[in-house]
């Protein structure tokens, strides 16, 4: 059903012979066996899981996860080893639905977080917190194991195009078509354990409909931005 054409250093190119082209891929952290697992979202809503052996070029399709009915937009993963949380993967789709998965010999669907009429173009996972950016400019933070909504941020005036994480500091970046990039700090309340968030910084990229944004370092001191009709990649650093 799927044919892998070539691999080099974690960059994987796919050629699908079926009618469902892949939307995105995400290298997953090592499982207990030491091999890699790769998850790819598709147009039909399926999430395909591939096993990448430690040695050799044979990649095998190991599972087809059903959970979404509309195109998969983003996948977020985090190694759950050594943590209380058992969530490894979150997938998002065009209807705004989020599916929360646990890996193992097979992936198990833990819970679903329903959409509310807008797509979820971007999702991130950090220490048991799911951060989802939506087409109406909202960021919502959920408790991964239960799917409970804990924080709702009216962050942007247009659709969010990208979320990124700086895992060392728990910083979250959100970028949207409204020309703004915002930086947030995620944390947990020491008393209740509830998710908390604080706004750190907002940047307006003048007259640019932002299409993508990423932190440039794991502590989140700098980030890069791409935009529609923009031939350059803009980089911002904190001084």
């Amino acid at each position: 059903k799927g044919i892998i054409t070539c691999i080099s250093c974690f960059q994987i190119h796919f050629l699908f012979s079926g009618s469902t082209p892949p939307i995105n891929t995400f290298p997953h952290g090592p499982t207990i066996s030491g091999a890699l697992v790769l998850a790819a979202g598709t147009w039909s809503g399926q999430v395909l899981v591939f096993d990448i052996p430690a040695k050799g070029p044979n990649i095998v399709l190991s599972e087809e996860l059903a959970g979404h009915q509309t195109p998969v937009t983003d996948i977020a993963t985090e190694s759950a080893q050594g943590q209380d949380c058992v969530v490894d993967m979150v997938t998002a789709d065009d209807s705004g639905l989020l599916c929360v998965w646990r890996s193992g010999p097979e992936f198990t669907l833990l819970t679903c977080i329903p959409g509310f009429g807008v797509p979820c173009p971007s999702v991130q996972l950090w220490q048991g917190i799911i951060a989802a950016g939506y087409g109406n400019g909202q960021i919502r933070l959920y408790e991964a194991t239960t799917g409970t909504l804990h924080v709702q941020i009216n962050a942007h005036a247009r659709a969010i195009c990208a979320l990124d994480l700086a895992p060392e500091m728990g910083k979250l970046l959100s970028a949207a078509e409204d020309t703004f990039v915002h930086i947030w700090k995620l944390s947990r309340s020491p008393e209740s354990g509830y998710i908390e968030v604080e706004h750190c910084h907002g940047e307006c990229v003048f007259d640019t409909q932002v299409c993508g944004a990423r932190f440039c370092d794991p502590s989140g001191n700098s980030f890069a931005v791409t935009g529609y009709d923009l031939a350059e990649i803009l980089r911002f650093s904190s001084v």
């Binding site: 797509p119 087409g135 109406n136 400019g137 941020i153 703004f180 907002g202 007259d207 009709d229």
Partner: protein
Amino acid sequence: MSMRTLPLLFLNLGGEMLYILDQRLRAQNIPVDKARKDEWTEVDRKRVLNDIISTMFSRKFMEELFKPQELYSKKALRTVYDRLAHASIMRLNQASMDKLYDLMTMAFKYQVLLCPRPKDVLLVTFNHLDAIKGFIQDSPTILHQVDETFRQLTETYGGLSAGEFQLIRQTLLIFFQDLHIRVSIFLKERVQSSNGRFVLPVSGPVPWGTEVPGVIRMFNKKGEEIRKIEFKHGGNYVAALREGSFELHGDRVLKLGTNMYSVNRPVETHMSGASKNLASRTQESIAPNPLAKEELNFLARLMGGMEIKKPSGPEPGFRLNLFTTDEEEEQAALTRPEELSYEVINIQATQDQRRNEELARIMGEFEITEQPRSSASKGDDLLAMMDGL
């Protein structure tokens, strides 16, 4: 990419074309009793608009348009408008046609970019259709055609999700990527800056369905709100007033897609000569287009659906100039940067015997295999004809 984008693209660009033609024709308006034989009158203007609109909205053409298909290149689409603009007694020189197409594309690009919600592109389309109905108030047959198209739009797009509209929006934006022609009316109204980029305001009403940014709400596990904080988001937004109507008649609320040309404002375009964005456009025109054959098939289908009424009798074609003087038009043709030229694809469906022989000869020159091709498809004929231009 979305396969449902062409009707929206075509109808909105067509709408802009009609706004511009209407404005230029009015500007050159001469009262009937004073007009010379070659001067435009009110009667001529109405006739030109009627002819173009009835061709645009003909049933056969709309059927072809609404079939799910990919978007083709700007060059291919320009050929369709070229034909459409000449569906009446009006004639446009290459330079004027180029300018017309530039204005049309920049206007719709602006409208798509500034749509608050992806779904609002449908409201923009309805704004164009409402205005078109205003042009042909006296012709009930054509009015009916436009209403029929309205119904088809509602049927095709009415049930699409926000995600599908976002895909349509992205498909349109990719089509318009790297186009930075400066339009004088946009520059004057400060919606476009001097480098050709559109101004994206960070104030005003938020889209319908979006909340004003600046609030963080925190909930406990029972779903009760426990805290509310405000943060400085940098913009100056207010809540949306109301949603525009998607009915056949109604207040669209959105101003994008309404006629921005008034009678006495000449609209100019400036070619950005020294812009570094031109580099990417040059690459586009040099690289061989792998879709050439598909594009020609698409054009043949669409143009086949166009019922062009040939003027009966020895009627002179009235020439319309989009510039203020003939000299300006000539100058524009000479100084148009190479990279921005639209190579017009001339397709003629003649059954001329001599032409077929000529075609066979041209095709022979492009033979790359040793075996002679026994029967070439119609698409190959057209391709060969293009190469021979």
